[in-house]
């Protein structure tokens, strides 16, 4: 666990904390819509089982006594004129993600520190801004310009930077790993990024500052928290991370550009012919876009923005990656028949929301289709577009002895699962009925198999028989009263060959007289 991070020059991590992210974002949204926020106290609330709870407060509300985590009713008792707005945690997270990408202007990669922080790796980039103080000043200026409250700090480890940003002095900078303890010793234990109950335990033990923990020796703390394996529950792990004795992996945010092309139309289109032409243009643009990235589309989404505000979306999944515009156009043509243009379509957007690497070889499915026929993937795409994805499948084996379970259906081009081979002496019918059909046995031989039976209203006389092949129920899956099956391969007087079975035995104690079923047709 204690991997010593041996690097000559330590990393420099910039920790950004946006203490009022939700409230700032709410104000920004209001300003964007052209509204003027009310001057009075405001809280953002979330609904819980016990009524609305406060998720964020602004400055006047905080002055009036409202706190994060308080129930709204309690806050109303303190300050009746408090205004509310719904909180939007998902929106906040998306906003934070955008900020993380934007923060890459100060370092090559950045990571989310949810719910309201960011980490940016600024190792060896400070000189571009004229030193770390200038870098921090730049960061503060940029956030202030966007109207976001910020506290930032730079330290050799993510833990130390986080602690300084949250509990340290303004614009703190720690040089070198040796200096960490000196600066951080005075900070409260909550700066170790621990769970609230662990912080409470430490406080009751009288350990209020980080320096206290480092002072009483590892063994005592190790004994007290020996069962806590989680990072957020074990102060020793957190302390080691803070001091850089244990490496702390961070998950960077990487922007992934989804291939997207769109057309805004001067005049809304209402006719199919024009729509087809625009879609053809989009398909060509998309092909170029995909080619530039060396990718092929597996899923395409075509959005049609109508004048009256409706958005019609058509989705397409392809059996193999492709970037052939004619192929895309042909598949979409089948899906656009039921589009209602209404008063007209003013914008179209084509997105390849799922793309796979595709080498530069496949270029003209459609042209070759005329001369040499389509490829298998192209053929399957066309079938799926018209008949639906469920209609096209292929049988694959499944580990079961029950005949109807021994076969499953999967999409046609997926690799086949590995399976045990079939036994040669188990004869199986060429076709299996969807559901075993009950047959009425008119006359049975003493051996047990039927001599004459009726199936679908016609009487069959059995001429030849082979069997039984006994297949026991799957006791690990079915309920206890499931009965075994005795399969017989039979041929009637006219040479028609069937696979029939008797469900259960007489006197097996799992039901009355066993029934006979016909399940398969032999060639």
């Amino acid at each position: 666990m204690s991997v010593e991070v041996t690097e000559a020059r330590p990393r420099r991590i910039l920790s950004l904390w946006l203490p009022a992210l939700a409230m700032d974002r709410w104000h920004l949204t209001i300003a964007e819509r052209g509204g003027v926020p009310a001057a009075g106290p405001l809280v953002l609330i979330a609904d819980t089982a016990h009524g609305p709870r406060i998720e964020a407060v602004d400055r006047p509300a905080a002055a009036a006594g409202a706190r994060k985590g308080m129930m709204l009713a309690d806050a109303r008792a303190l300050c009746p004129e408090i205004a509310t707005a719904p909180a939007d945690p998902a929106g906040d997270l998306a906003f934070l993600e955008q900020l993380a990408l934007w923060a890459q202007r100060w370092g090559p990669w950045s990571a989310l520190d949810a719910p309201e922080g960011l980490l940016v790796d600024v190792t060896a980039v400070a000189h571009l801004f004229g030193g770390e103080e200038a870098l921090l000043a730049d960061v503060h200026a940029a956030f202030a310009q966007r109207g976001l409250a910020l506290r930032a700090a730079i330290a050799p480890t993510a833990g130390a930077a986080w602690a300084l940003a949250h509990y340290g002095p303004e614009r703190a900078i720690v040089e070198g790993r040796a200096g960490i303890m000196r600066v951080l010793a005075e900070l409260p234990v909550a700066a170790l990024r621990l769970d609230q109950d662990v912080v409470t335990v430490l406080r009751r033990l009288g350990l209020k500052r980080i320096g206290d923990i480092a002072g009483i020796g590892r063994d005592a703390i190790q004994r007290r928290f020996r069962n806590r394996k989680l990072r957020t529950a074990n102060p020793l792990i957190r302390l080691d991370q803070l001091l850089g004795r244990v490496s702390e992996p961070l998950l960077p945010v990487i922007q992934e550009a989804v291939p997207l092309v769109q057309r805004r139309l001067l005049e809304p289109i209402r006719h199919r012919q024009l729509l087809d032409r625009v879609v053809a243009d989009l398909a060509r643009d998309m092909a170029r876009e995909l080619e530039a990235q060396g990718q092929g589309a597996r899923r395409l989404e075509l959005g049609l923005w109508r004048v009256d505000g409706e958005v019609v979306v058509r989705r397409l999944e392809l059996a193999a990656a492709t970037r052939d515009p004619a192929h895309m156009l042909r598949l979409f043509a089948a899906r656009l028949d039921d589009v209602d243009a209404g008063f007209g379509i003013e914008m179209l957007r084509l997105r390849a929301s799922w793309a796979e690497p595709l080498a530069l070889d496949q270029n003209d499915i459609e042209a070759r289709a005329e001369s040499h026929g389509t490829s298998l993937a192209g053929c399957i795409d066309r079938l799926i577009v018209r008949l639906g994805a469920k209609a096209v499948s292929r049988p694959v084996p499944y580990a079961s002895h029950l005949p109807e379970r021994a076969q499953r259906w999967q999409p046609p081009l997926e690799p086949e699962p590995t399976s045990q081979g079939l036994l040669e002496f188990h004869s199986r019918p060429r076709k299996l009925l969807d559901k075993p059909e009950k047959i009425a046995v008119l006359y049975a031989t003493p051996d047990g198999y039927p001599q004459r039976f009726r199936w679908r209203g016609e009487v069959h006389d059995v001429a030849r028989v082979e069997g039984p092949e006994r297949i026991a129920p799957e006791w690990w899956r079915e309920r206890g009263a499931a009965r075994l099956r005795d399969y017989y391969r039979i041929e009637d007087g006219q040479g028609r060959r069937y696979w029939i079975y008797r469900q259960g035995l007489i006197g097996d104690g799992r039901g009355g007289v066993p029934d006979w079923y016909l399940q398969g047709l032999y060639a």
């Binding site: 490829s375 298998l376 076969q407 199986r428 040479g495 060959r497």
Partner: protein, 260 residues
């Protein structure tokens, strides 16, 4: 009409090379695809009460496929897929293909299409015929749907001939309607031949197959069977001989005025 005996035909009939080659090619037999190319569009009429239709269709298709010279070594390693199209009605009556019971290396090659309507099945068949990566296409359509008229069957024939992908269309419980299929069979189950070890058990399948209409062959009736995975056809029956004789004589009669 008195039927001409083959032996009693005048020698002149055999000197007519056209008639002679016609007679040679007149008789259908297994493995003929090696010389004449595969039968591109066949229809097999069968009852849905047994598996004879699909069984015979697969046997005929595999016979053609095996007797064709294989193009390249890649074919041996990655055999082409087979498209098996069924309407829902056909699947309800005659069941769906069962992987463990399919012959040869077919289990890993079958791609199954379940179409709700006959129109969809015809679309799937035509798309399959246009696909160069398919070995052959098997269709199963129940009854005589309105969509499957002469025009539709002509479309299938043309697509099949253009791209060289054979089609075997099984018609379950259907009447013999108009069709442009190159070969039309009527197939029914026959008592199987005796297996080697257990005389009481059903043996390898056999079918009574009547080729009632074909463009390149004389009609006839055969007993088809599968032995060791290969298609065998036992000798034609008497009326078939008569039909061949009649057909050849007809050719001779038709030719003579043009020669004069």
């Amino acid at each position: 009409m008195p039927s001409p005996d083959l032996a009693s035909l005048p020698l002149a009939a055999f000197e007519d090379l056209a008639a002679l080659s016609a007679r040679r090619s007149a008789r259908w037999r297994p493995g003929l695809a090696a010389r004449q190319g595969p039968a591109l569009h066949s229809e097999i009429f069968a009852s849905s009460r047994d598996g004879a239709g699909a069984g015979a269709a697969l046997a005929l298709a595999l016979d053609d496929w095996r007797s064709l010279p294989q193009q390249d070594a890649g074919e041996v390693r990655h055999p082409r897929s087979v498209l098996w199209v069924q309407t829902r009605e056909a699947a309800r009556r005659g069941g769906r293909p069962y992987r463990a019971g399919l012959p040869g290396d077919l289990p890993a090659r079958v791609i199954h299409v379940l179409a709700e309507k006959a129109e969809d099945a015809l679309f799937a068949l035509e798309e399959g015929l246009r696909c160069r990566d398919l070995a052959f296409v098997v269709g199963e359509i129940a009854g005589n749907p309105r969509a499957l008229d002469f025009t539709a069957s002509r479309r299938l024939t043309l697509a099949s001939e253009k791209h060289g992908v054979p089609l075997f269309l099984v018609r379950l419980d259907a009447a013999r309607d108009l069709s442009s299929a190159r070969m039309r069979w009527e197939v029914a189950s026959m008592p199987s031949s005796a297996p080697r070890w257990n005389a009481q058990a059903p043996g390898p399948p056999r079918w009574r197959a009547e080729l009632f209409r074909a463009r390149a062959h004389a009609p006839g009736e055969w007993t088809l069977g599968e032995e060791a995975g290969r298609l065998v056809a036992s000798k034609a029956q008497r009326e078939a001989d008569e039909a061949v004789a009649g057909w050849t004589a007809g050719l001779r009669l038709r030719r003579s005025p043009r020669r004069a």
